[in-house]
């Protein structure tokens, strides 16, 4: 059951990959709530959609690999540029000439691609817990992904073979690291459930698509011109706050640090996140449009 049902929905088909999108509300500007790692699907925005749709046109879609979208086992559609082009295809299909992408975690790369390559389509960009190659990640995650695992503890579970052997256990571990805040049993249960809607095979295909390297990311940051807001938690155990800081600096954007927040604050601090997104979108509407 949902607090808010979509007003319209449909599919886009790009290069044989079918993606499901939903549209809520009709206020300007359009907010594009992007997918992220395909371990979850668009319902991870469930605490944003009902509020934001009262003020904005909100577009969500399931990325390749989960939800009601196809689950390609070829890495190609999961790459940065491919993801950027899929986002464009959704904007086209929903008639959104311009939009404010709101991205979580690794989707920061796809939002940056959009900002650099289709600046005329991007009014402003909100990044939440950006996970991208701007500086080092957390230490303690150096377990080899491609070697057969020799331990089953902690980040050793982040492993090609462990995913295939113990997919659910990996999901439970991973989301426990995403939600470092106390009293997160419900968001963890939700996320594990979404993770179970895809498979280790899909995550492995996705994993084979390369991430943008630091030089490329910095080029994209330099090429982008729109206002930027970066939201990052101090207790983000997936992507350290220093990356959010660097992203804000490289894009000339504003940084809002959420004290005590983990990697997915939209689930654990939804009101705060919603108000930040609304305030940001409102500031664009006031100054940025004819």
């Amino acid at each position: 059951m949902r607090a808010r049902e979509p007003d319209a929905e449909g599919y886009v088909d790009r290069d044989g990959v079918k993606l499901h999108y939903e549209v809520f509300g009709d206020g300007e500007p359009t907010l594009l709530l992007m997918p992220t790692w395909t371990i979850v699907h668009a319902r991870f925005w469930k605490a944003q959609v009902p509020y934001l749709a009262r003020h904005h046109r909100v577009v969500t879609y399931d990325g390749p690999g989960n939800g009601r979208s196809d689950r390609p086992l070829d890495p190609a559609p999961y790459g940065c540029e491919a993801q950027g082009r899929l986002a464009l295809a959704v904007l086209d299909a929903t008639g959104a000439e311009r939009a404010v992408p709101v991205s979580l975690s690794m989707a920061s790369q796809w939002a940056l691609w959009l900002m650099a390559h289709r600046p005329e389509r991007v009014l402003g960009s909100v990044f939440i817990g950006p996970s991208l190659a701007l500086g080092p990640g957390h230490t303690g995650r150096a377990e080899p992904f491609e070697e057969p695992y020799t331990s089953t503890e902690g980040w050793a579970k982040y492993n090609r073979y462990y995913w295939q052997d113990h997919y659910r256990d990996f999901l439970e571990f991973f989301f426990s690291q995403c939600f470092t805040e106390a009293h997160s049993t419900k968001p963890i249960e939700d996320a594990v459930g979404w993770g179970l809607e895809t498979s280790a095979a899909v995550l492995l295909a996705e994993n084979d698509a390369p991430w943008a390297d630091e030089a490329t990311l910095l080029d994209w940051c330099a090429a982008s011109r729109c206002p930027v807001l970066v939201i990052h938690g101090t207790k983000d155990a997936i992507s350290p706050l220093r990356r959010g800081k660097r992203l804000a600096k490289a894009t000339g954007g504003a940084l809002t640090v959420l004290e005590g927040a983990g990697h997915i604050p939209m689930a654990r601090d939804p009101v705060k996140v919603n108000l930040l997104v609304r305030e940001f979108a409102g500031s664009l509407a006031a100054g940025g449009r004819p």
Partner: protein, 307 residues
């Protein structure tokens, strides 16, 4: 308002911020025992959110106060033994008659002529006594998960003695005074685990354990022994004298007090029964919106002029 609450012994913990702060606070005093009350809002009628067993204090109504105070005058007080009320010693200080007399003293201290009673669990004992003995002061009684002996307890709770030393700490054997004095924290974890059977209750559990640390284990033993003094026949007789409208709300998964006890109370008082599917013993904490709307609906059903 001070942000720090004095607890029994040397412990102090900062109180959490509140969604709604009281408009007035004070103490009622009865036989040398001070009772701390709070008033929120000023609508009509007055809702009197009664204390329950002193294992928790008035903050257990925290999810009701902000909503109800937008419509009504809401009165709460910490039951003797916890919160900012005094901690008299001895089982005799914790009978249902003492709690009912405390409630009356708070009504008087706050110049409240009449009120709608809202009670949880053991609070049903004093709510019933108050409604039976002071019909002019009580315009309706709303019971949540009443802990009343009108129907048998859960069978697993009837196995072990509260008073006698036991040779096991398993399950409901923890509901034993010797165990409480030996491992109070262990008892709290067990007890609130059974109060909050719904998934995702970690926050409510943490709150309850925190409030329960506000009463010394020995005082809690006194309070439990005081409740054991409540006679069933006398309670039945009180039920029969209740004349005001009654609504009983009881979860069908209540692991502390069976739903049959709520149903029996509704029958004994001529009241209506609402069953919450899947709810445990503390629906005011786990289903606050539902409970708040039921309270509001009940209050509105009492009619304006009669208030």
């Amino acid at each position: 308002m001070t942000a720090v609450k004095e607890l029994s012994g040397a412990r102090t913990v900062p109180e959490q911020t509140r969604a709604r702060y009281p408009d007035a606070t004070g103490y009622a005093e009865r036989d040398g025992v001070r009772l701390f009350w709070e008033r929120y809002g000023d609508g009509e009628p007055t809702l009197f959110l009664l204390p329950t067993w002193s294992i928790v204090h008035a903050r257990f109504w925290k999810a009701q106060i902000p909503y109800l105070a937008r419509h009504y005058r809401v009165l709460t007080f910490d039951g003797r033994g916890n919160g900012r009320s005094d901690r008299p010693a001895g089982a005799g200080a914790y009978t249902e008659r003492e709690f009912a007399a405390d409630a009356l003293a708070v009504l008087d201290a706050t110049a409240t002529r009449r009120a709608v009673l809202v009670s949880l669990s053991c609070g049903a004992l004093w709510a019933t006594l108050l409604a039976a003995d002071h019909p002019d002061r009580v315009t309706g009684s709303f019971y949540l998960c009443p802990a009343v002996g009108l129907a048998p307890p859960h069978p697993e709770r009837a196995v072990h003695s509260f008073m006698e030393p036991l040779d096991t700490d398993d399950g409901w054997a923890r509901y034993n005074q010797h165990y409480w004095l030996r491992d109070y924290r262990g008892f709290l974890e067990f007890f609130f685990g059974h109060c909050l059977t719904e998934p995702h209750s970690t926050k409510q559990h943490e709150d309850c354990v925190g409030w329960a640390l506000g009463i010394a284990p020995g005082t809690l033993v006194d309070s439990q022994q005081g409740l054991l003094l409540c006679g069933l026949e006398r309670f039945r007789e009180s039920c029969a004298r209740v004349r005001c409208p009654v609504l009983v709300v009881h979860g069908d998964e209540d692991a502390i007090r069976p739903h049959a006890q709520g149903a029996a109370l509704a029958e004994a008082t001529g009241g209506r029964l609402v069953t919450l599917a899947g709810s445990g013993h503390l629906p005011q904490a786990r289903d606050p919106v539902r409970v708040n709307l039921l309270v509001r609906e009940f209050v509105e059903s009492l009619g304006g002029p009669a208030r």
